[in-house]
């Protein structure tokens, strides 16, 4: 189905099942521990052996010599795989560094060997016997030191280009009120709860991989490239994924090593990345240095806005696209953005939840708060004054729907914004300094091609098959709701099967495109199935109404199941998009409100209240969508207050590479969170009229926390995370 005209009325608009806050259909399995993840497929193939990964002990250089013989001779060991045993391997197009080092080492904890043994304990013990001699090379590990040599990112992707509209320099120089500040965000880790894990089994030339991956087809494609075997020979099964946040978008070393290990051992092998290996072995969100300049009239109209960002990555990698929201969020005739990329030899940087916007808004929305103060304006009023209904770079191009203003208005009323003191450091609650802050949330709505197959059997059971994944997002449930709505049955009559490359290729889970795109693919397949049902029942499909398990046309009404009496009926299709996302800018919007209390003596920050108001098209399931947003708010709180990978700038690695050292929010850090969704449908996005929310929820949260801390204390910290050491010496007198 080609979606190239705005959606008209369609069966989804009946909202009998879609739009309801249903419990997750996979919920009972998850809460009973019977949803099985990658490392838990005990019964799918016999004779599974255990792999244990050894990571490189240097950041850059070469392996001089490696003695694996003691490991080979250790009890229970079946095979040891290194680059030497692996033979020629290519690199998948989505990987920057190779997944198995040797002789070159490109980053710390890059895998250098896999030990396969009868048991986990034996593999672990044997791995410790491998002796590696390294010839370490000099590397670049310090973004600030490498900034001056940073270059314009290479490649054909126009979103990486410098942008210029009007005369920024002239307008900024002439502006009566201006801001020119630099903000920094640290390297961050996805730190999903389920470590990357894979069970690999060869059957002749055919390879089956039970793994934990957000993008099944990318995984198959990149694995085929890496091993140099046909794509058809690889099957990936990924039914449950214990969190991803972008960290499981790509093929990672667990998959490759399990496959190589299984080939060497001539047995199925399962591999999980050990938690202390994960952070340096896999990808992370790169640190940024961001310079923002804003010039306004005396009344607060933006006349000039510039956002520049510096980040680093391994050779061949890409930048953190932290400037992209600044091209679209606020009006202003004269504007520029630019990104510069430094070569660093730290582990590979890549996408983490809302890549670009998450760190970009941490800077931009703090700058907006600072600018409002310079102008003596309310921070919300300042933002609304510079709101726009068109792409500021191309005024002829409207937003498909943009209700940022309403998000702020609804939120400020609900949160009690009018009680905020414009002067910071004014509100005291015992030992605590209390403040509130706000920030805009903005994230583009991406649409992706997505396929599905839907079948109906004689019992009236509807089965959906798509390689779409559920990473906690609620895909199982919203896909079930979509099929139920389209076929006019209850969700109890729908079976949803996901995460298998044997199923039609879907959008996958990333970039908050999964919910809207994958359900649109299911919609398309259901349209095909409806046609097949109507034809079978001798009904005109355009007149047919599917409701209450029946198909009605005129005064005829037949049970849906009767169409499949002679055998199951199947509809398969893929949603593809025209240029509605080019003629119209499609984005999602929100406003985050945060109240913090900062201990007047210790500068410890506690978050007291959080509210997000979101405008993101049709909300397919308010319960699971709300969970996406509160989860993202939680990760945003982590980014504001605690998350930071500490870089060892001499040895070139992230020091705090486990869950004890890399601090993420825990229960005690997070208060009750409130989420409001504006009631809207966006007919430009898809037949579902939905957009994404999973990343919108993190966008702007960090700045809202930072702005609340400023409001509480009068201390502005532009270097995230805002830990107490950065506040302590500048706190108002505790008196």
């Amino acid at each position: 189905m080609k979606f190239d005209k705005p959606a008209a009325d369609n069966p989804i608009d009946r909202l009998q099942v879609v739009g309801k806050p249903l419990d997750r259909i996979d919920g009972p399995r998850k809460v009973t521990g019977t949803a099985r993840y990658a490392y838990e497929q005990h019964d799918v193939v016999p004779g599974q052996a255990y792999g244990y990964v050894l990571g490189a002990g240097i950041a850059k250089g070469r392996i001089g010599a490696m003695d694996v013989e003691p490991a080979r001779r250790a009890p229970g060991v079946i095979a040891v795989v290194t680059a030497k045993e692996a033979g020629a391997l290519k690199k998948g197009k989505r990987n920057t560094a190779r997944l198995l080092a040797g002789p070159e080492v490109e980053h710390y904890h890059q895998a250098v060997a896999l030990v396969v043994a009868e048991s986990f304990e034996q593999a672990r013990a044997a791995a410790s016997l491998i002796k590696v001699e390294y010839a370490a090379a000099e590397g670049a590990f310090d973004l600030k030191a490498a900034m001056n040599e940073a270059k314009k990112p290479e490649g054909d992707d126009p979103s990486l280009d410098d942008t210029k509209v009007g005369d920024f320099a002239g307008a900024f120089a002439a502006a009566p009120v201006k801001l020119d500040e630099t903000y920094t965000t640290p390297d961050e880790s996805h730190a999903m709860m389920e470590p990357h894990a894979t069970l690999a089994a060869w059957e002749g030339e055919r390879l089956t991989l039970w793994t934990s991956n957000q993008m099944v087809d990318w995984g198959v494609t990149d694995m085929a490239t890496t091993l140099g075997i046909p794509k058809e020979n690889i099957r990936i099964v990924s039914p449950f994924i214990g969190g991803g946040f972008g960290g499981k978008l790509f093929l990672r070393s667990d998959v490759l090593l399990a496959a190589l290990g299984a080939r060497a051992a001539r047995r199925p092998v399962k591999v999980t990345l050990q938690r202390p290996l994960m952070i340096n072995n896999t990808t992370h969100r790169p640190a940024t240095v961001q310079r923002i300049r804003i010039g306004t009239t005396g009344e607060g109209k933006i006349t000039a806005i510039a956002h520049e960002s510096w980040s680093g990555d391994l050779p061949g990698g890409g930048p953190e696209v932290a400037v992209q929201q600044t091209r679209l969020l606020y009006a202003g005739a004269n504007r520029m953005t630019a990104m510069r990329l430094a070569e660093l030899d730290l582990p590979e940087g890549n996408a983490m939840r809302a890549p670009g916007e998450a760190p970009g808004l941490m800077a931009l929305e703090m700058a907006m708060d600072e600018m409002a103060e310079k102008l003596g304006m309310d921070p919300i009023a300042f933002r609304l004054l510079n709101d726009t209904q068109v792409d500021p770079e191309k005024p002829e191009r409207p937003f498909s729907m943009r209700r940022l203003d309403e998000c702020f208005r609804v939120g400020s009323e609900r949160f009690g914004w009018s009680r905020r003191s414009a002067r910071p450091g004014q509100q005291r609650d015992g030992n605590w300094l209390v403040g509130i802050g706000v920030a805009a949330a903005f994230r583009n709505n991406l649409v992706m091609k997505s396929g599905a197959r839907v079948s109906l059997d004689a019992q009236g059971i509807v089965t959906v098959e798509t390689d779409m994944t559920d990473i906690g997002t609620g895909s199982y449930t919203i896909i079930g709701q979509t099929a139920a709505e389209m076929l006019g049955v209850g969700i109890d009559k729908v079976v949803v099967k996901l995460g298998d490359s044997a199923f039609p290729v879907s959008a996958g889970s990333g970039g908050q495109w999964g919910g809207n795109s994958s359900t649109a693919g299911v919609y398309a397949a259901c349209v095909k199935l409806r046609e097949a049902v109507a034809q079978k029942l001798g009904i005109n499909s355009t007149e047919a109404i599917f409701a209450n398990g029946e198909v009605k046309a005129g005064n005829r009404s037949l049970p849906l199941a009767s169409a499949a009496e002679a055998g199951p009926l199947t509809g398969e299709d893929t949603i593809e998009y025209g240029d509605l996302d080019k003629t119209h800018q499609q984005s999602t919007f929100g406003a985050h409100f945060v109240e913090v209390a900062v201990d007047a003596a210790t500068a410890e920050t506690r978050i007291r209240r959080m509210l997000a108001v979101c405008a993101a098209g049709r909300i397919l399931n308010p319960k699971t969508a709300r969970s996406q947003v509160i989860g993202a708010m939680t990760m945003g709180a982590g980014a504001a207050l605690m998350e930071e990978l500490a870089v060892d700038k001499r040895r070139g690695f992230f020091v705090n590479h486990d869950l004890a050292g890399y601090e993420v929010p825990v229960h005690a850090d997070i208060p009750h969170q409130e989420v409001v969704f504006l009631d809207e449908t966006d007919p430009m996005s898809s037949p579902m009229k939905a957009k994404g929310v999973g990343e919108l929820g993190i966008c702007g949260v960090g700045a809202a926390v930072a702005n609340a801390i400023y409001n509480a204390t009068g201390v502005r910290v532009r270097d995230y995370p805002i830990t107490l050491d950065k506040l302590l010496t500048r706190m108002p007198d505790a008196a």
């Binding site: 997750r24 304990e121 709860m193 938690r275 906690g472 486990d658 869950l659 004890a660 997070i670």
Partner: protein, 197 residues
């Protein structure tokens, strides 16, 4: 204190079968018996096997999750003799004769435990990987409060202990949920606590 504690740990497993003398190169194994979800189980295990791996890899009770294997995340929380523990931080052979309750022992898909039911109702999870640990921890937390065991946020040690959101948040802080379902988990646990009266 520390030395005494360490010594005391040894006689604490008198029932554990003596390590089997084995041929060179083979792992040292020992027999351990425990009740798991009400069923007596005896395993001959490599003595390095954690309780977590005994459950997951030997009994195939994979509801208990391995998130970090280092006691940092709480995903492996199970209830041993009435107390919640990180099963990755205890060797299986140290648990001779104990009673273990895992997520599979609390309820089934067709017969959910009230805490499991509340987690579904309040959407107290997303990816589901920390969930069994959160639920085992939550069940044990309510028992701890009932038993009058104080926490860091308990203001008055002599007053009758009450379930509050602050108590729940404090006591569950050893169970990380990276999906960030905390707000909903507190709602689920409060719901169950309210019903228990």
């Amino acid at each position: 204190m520390v030395a005494a504690g360490a010594c005391a740990a040894l006689p604490a497993m008198p029932g554990a079968a003596r390590a089997q003398p084995v041929s060179r190169g083979e792992p040292v194994t020992a027999s351990v018996s425990m009740s798991v979800n009400g069923e007596n189980r005896t395993l001959q295990l490599d003595t390095r096997t954690t309780l977590l791996d005994a459950l997951r890899e030997h009994l195939h009770l994979t509801g208990t999750k391995k998130g970090c294997d280092h006691g940092q995340c709480g995903a492996c929380t199970v209830i041993v003799d009435g107390q919640r523990i990180n099963s990755c931080l205890t060797l299986a052979i140290m648990n001779q004769g104990v009673q273990v309750t895992t997520i599979e022992g609390l309820g089934t898909v067709d017969d959910l435990h009230p805490m499991q039911e509340a987690f579904v109702k309040h959407d107290g999870f997303q990816c589901g990987y920390c969930t069994p640990g959160q639920i085992c921890s939550s069940v044990a937390v309510l028992d701890e409060i009932k038993a009058g065991i104080p926490s860091h946020v308990t203001a008055d040690l002599t007053a009758p202990m009450a379930v509050s959101e602050a108590e729940i948040r404090e006591r569950l802080s050893g169970n990380i949920c990276r999906c960030g379902a905390y707000s909903n988990i507190v709602a689920a646990v409060s719901d169950v606590a309210g019903r228990q009266g």
